[in-house]
Amino acid sequence: MLYREAGQFKTTYADDQALLPIAQDRIGLLLILIVAFVAMPMFASEFFLSSIMIPFLVFSLAAIGLNILMGFAGQLSLGTGAFMGVGAYSCYKMTTIFPDLNILIVLLLSGLFSAAIGVVFGLPSLRIKGLYLAITTLAAQFFLEWCFIRIEWLYNYNDSGAIEVPQRMLFGLAITGPHATPITRYLVILSVVAVMTLVAANVLRGRIGRSWMMIRDMDIAAELMGIRPLFSKLSAFAFSSYYCGVAGALMVFFWLGSAEVESFDINHSFLILFMVIIGGMGSLTGCFMGAAFIWVLPVILRAIPTAFELDILAATMEHISSIVIGVLIIFFLIVEPHGLARLWRVGKEKLRTWPFPYAN
């Protein structure tokens, strides 16, 4: 209905293979970007930016990381939290060792450490598949958690055992540390996430992304078509971990301000996993939807008692939101295993074929 595509035709392959071949989608994305980059900073409250938008963006990026591995390359992982931790600690170490290095560069470099660790723990994927692999990622999770506690060098021997984000400037503006305003932090995160999403989309539609999906859909056929499982799987681990690492660094540097091992524990791994499942495996849009859903739902649930002046403990609402999310996960798996993204796609398809029920 909203999609009236008559008259949109492609005269080059470049146009035909564009990320958003439909004009209405391009307009929609443009609107979203305008809202995100212009309207949000102008109108949103500091609270909204720092407790909803910033975490949402951080988790979206982490979800993209996990989704690359799980949804596009078909490798199950339960170690996302730890990979985020690797990014965060690397970023912290680098910026304390080289305080003058531009923090954004440090941020992007820190993902490389995460990627390297990811490759190491991805090695077993060459021999084992599915659930077995999931368990080896648990090994990564617990081993790395242990490292974050035991290797004091990682947090510069702080007594608290936590990493404290120092102040770093960009164009004379404090973008990290206690003096960075939510708006600045939001805009930095938004830019990083926007660029990295575009990069992910590009990689996914190219040769490398296709090789991941080949391995995912039919690994034997992929191999017989010349895909090297070694390179393909490890590159997926590296890529995925890179994204998780950057997300972890963003989380600490632009959201939390300081962090201990708890910020990277297995519960975080699960949180990201839920975002990917609910958002939709194999969809970048789904990562944003899942992150929004999983992050915003508890916020709303927590707000309910205050809004209706009910005498309910915050902890109680926390438990309820856990149940709700659990139920929703099961519901989605039963009704639509491909998550919100598929619902959106189905809805869009309906709008495209409106008033007909399906394309003729």
Binding site: M1, Y3, R4, E5, A6, G7, Q8, F9, K10, T11, T12, Y13, D15, D16, T353, W354, P355, F356, P357, Y358, N360
Partner: protein, 672 residues
Amino acid sequence: MNKSVVDSIDVAGDVVSGTSGSAPALPSFPHYLLRNAETLRNRVAMRHKDLGIWREWTWADLLQEIRSFSLGLLQLGLRPGDKVAIIGNNRPRLYWSFAAVQALGGVPVPVYSDSVAEEMGYVLDHAGIRFAVCQDQEQVDKVLSLQETLTGLNCVIYDEERGMQHYNKELVHAFDFVQQLGTQAVERDPGAIANWCDGIDQIDTDGLCVMLYTSGTTGRPKGVMLSHRNLIITSLNANRFDTLNDQEETIAYLPLAWVGDHVFSYGQSYTAGYCVCCPESPDTVTSDRREIAPSYFFAPPRVFENLLTAITVNMEDASRMKRAMFDYFIKVANKHGEKILNKEPVSPIGSALYGLGKLFVYGPLKNRLGMSKVRVAYTAGEAIGPDIFRFYRSLGINLKQLYGQTEASVYITAQPDGQIDANTVGTPSLDVEIDIADNGEVMYRSPGVFMGYYKNDDATESTKTPDGWVHTGDAGFIDDAGHLRIIDRSKDVGKLNDGGLFPPKYIENKLKFFSDIKEVVAFGDGKDYVAVFINIDLTAVANWAERNNIVYGSYQELAAHPQVYDMVLAHVEKVNADLAAEPRVASAQIRRFLVLHKELDADDGELTRTLKVRRSFIVERYGELIDALYSDKTEQFVSTGVTFEDGRTGTIDATVRIQNVPSVQRAEQVVA
């Protein structure tokens, strides 16, 4: 110098008098190509969805391509007057062949590509073709299989490479190869281009431009010879009539050999300079049309019928709510749509509802059909059901009817914007004169009138009078508003005893447009009044019966049911009212009818295998019933032999009721 002629065409496409003084220099199609390549240099002239994307050619590109191909043909020995068969689907290169051949003074002969080798053989042989431009291996094989009879065949050219590696290189050439020959010729002799242009100036615009074989339903196809003047004047007039310009987009999907496609996709495109898009394959026309969203669109009624059926079928699968909404807004459109399209006043509520409908239904629907940008759409060829016609118009698609023939270079009449009626075919097109002969046959005279049938003077003489009038073979009349109405093939039109016209097909079609009625046989020639046999449509009527709680045990019982008779009577009365409104056929109102107790069936010989009524057989078989129709009887017993599906035979006995119908009087009739 050809420049003068090209200059004489102004941008609007009108022909301005030449500078030389005497007669106006009329350009030929190659002249238009030269003009377009100059004035519309960078405007897209043609698109073709090939290998997944739309390839585009501007007019300048087109000139390049056509010129090199034309020069290549020259190298291969094409001489003025040579006939060149063009066989295949709507492919750009096949369209280019027209101008390329014409530029050398040759005559393109497009041939229906789906005809079997034998049929094609007749046409190719009759036309005496020397060259054939084929789409693919399939067509090349057909032509080569006729090689022995086609003594003059000099060369076969193909567009698609697939499977063509191992053919005789002496005889069979790739399109590219021919173009290369042309390019090489220019490289050898730079003057070749100028010579080619000079050749274009030599074209006799009153000479043979193209030969189109009519796919006659009876007898052998006849080659209709059309001149440049025929096509160009007609095209220019058609463009002016609908204010078509170089901004139009059309999709070429009808057979190349059909005059309609030739005029829409070649004649009018060259004269107006608009873009013609060729679909990827016949399977993808629907989606390709959606991608292109043509602004000027033509389709025979069956295309519109099929589309409507597809819409209905699709909507049956839709959710209940969506279907209810769809049905509601279609009703709204029925009520107000046409008025809004005709710019007539509509109540504010009506126009508000229509606006909503446009948002929720009409707009998206047109989008799906690929008709959201249609400015002018035509249907022609046969009668279109008024409901179907109104359906599209009510959506806001400016669908119009036209009446045309190959012999007229298409246009005889067309409906001007805002003067639309499902029953007429419009007013005479520009420069067309129309006359109704004493026997009711429509005659016309126009600049588009053909030169004659190729190698068939007898047929030419019997069709075209010496002073240029052409027999259409259709009976019709001009109504009060000056619009032509076609009622039947003139040889089928009979006379009632009171002298009134009896057009059986016209009456039968009017009744058959009701979905409850499947088949009609009308009688009246040499009788006092018109009477009809009616066959109900079992599916539709059973459905209706179910909704109205009518119980029946068999087809026979249902057909004889009083309420069914009432329903049919209502339809007949409506038809009578329609007939009464048209003075020429007012006396052909139906006075008596009966509903047949059995379905007319091909197994019983009542229908042909293509499901057409075998009138003579029915007259013989149901003589008693016909007699009863022309008597005072109110019912008649009849015993009919039938063949069952398993081959057994038996008889059906029935007493069929005969119903009288009151006739409608109209003041005008008295005056007439």
